[in-house]
Symmetry: C2
Subunit: 150 residues, 2 copies
Amino acid sequence: MSELQNILNHAEHRCRVHGSRLTEKRKKVLSGLLQSDRALSAYELVDYCNENYDENFAAMSVYRILEFLEQEQLVHKLKLSNRFVACVHIACEHPHQIPQFVVCTDCRKVKEFSISRSTMNSIKRQVEESSFHLVSEQIEFNCLCDSCAV
Amino acid sequence: MSELQNILNHAEHRCRVHGSRLTEKRKKVLSGLLQSDRALSAYELVDYCNENYDENFAAMSVYRILEFLEQEQLVHKLKLSNRFVACVHIACEHPHQIPQFVVCTDCRKVKEFSISRSTMNSIKRQVEESSFHLVSEQIEFNCLCDSCAV
DNA sequence: AAATGTTATGTTACACAATATCATATTGTC
DNA sequence: GACAATATGATATTGTGTAACATAACATTT
């Protein structure tokens, strides 16, 4: 079984457990993201689906599907660039963490990673000192990847 | 002299030093931001200017003006929300730092602050460990302000 | 199987964000 | 004043995202 198939199976199982359905269209959108190492915009996914499958994907549908996949934590939305990436932990068993991302502003390559708990706590403390309260620990860093940095 | 006037004078002086000009329109857009404690979108600024000044501000112009003000570091663009805020350091003498922001996702209030050097270094190190290189230290945190947190 | 409620998708229209392009006006320098 | 450089006007176009309503697919009960 291919790695992609394996991940899709995990995803499907997770949805079933939650009482939701990973339909064919949703599966195809998710596949598109899984096969890309870069973050894709909704409209890029529309194009991807229309090119690779003999079906019509309306932009509206893709937006809805992405919203669904996000709720199921199968996909994350990068808020700095309004693009989407598949979660790297779909086939893992361990509980899901709050995602942090490094994003190459040049080639758009994305890596999901985690800032250490202690650094995160320092950040949190300094934010609180400004009389604000952190709502989400998702942080996105504008970076260059190794290849683009040369 | 009003505090606003004082800041505008500093801004004008800074432009002159850079060989650029803080025109009347630019001054008005900047004033709009200086008088708001919330981040404003380009189109909100268009409305603000058209309501408060007896002149016509086209969206196109406001975008160009914002771009200019950003270059002069008089204004920062919040990339998470595509909104703009006046820099808090216009009238300061000390060299300008890379801005970090806490943004209330509810009322859009914004505060410019600075993460400590040591925390920033930790972040930087952890990013490098993922084979990426930080391009910008500007970070925006999704927060709730004290008033909205209740 | 028929009826019903729920979820998923189709379709169209629209609002908002941002940029491209070319024309015109204003300013600074010689 | 003539010229170059900069700033603004005006219009069109592209991209992103959502609202609203219609239809289709599925699940459950009877």
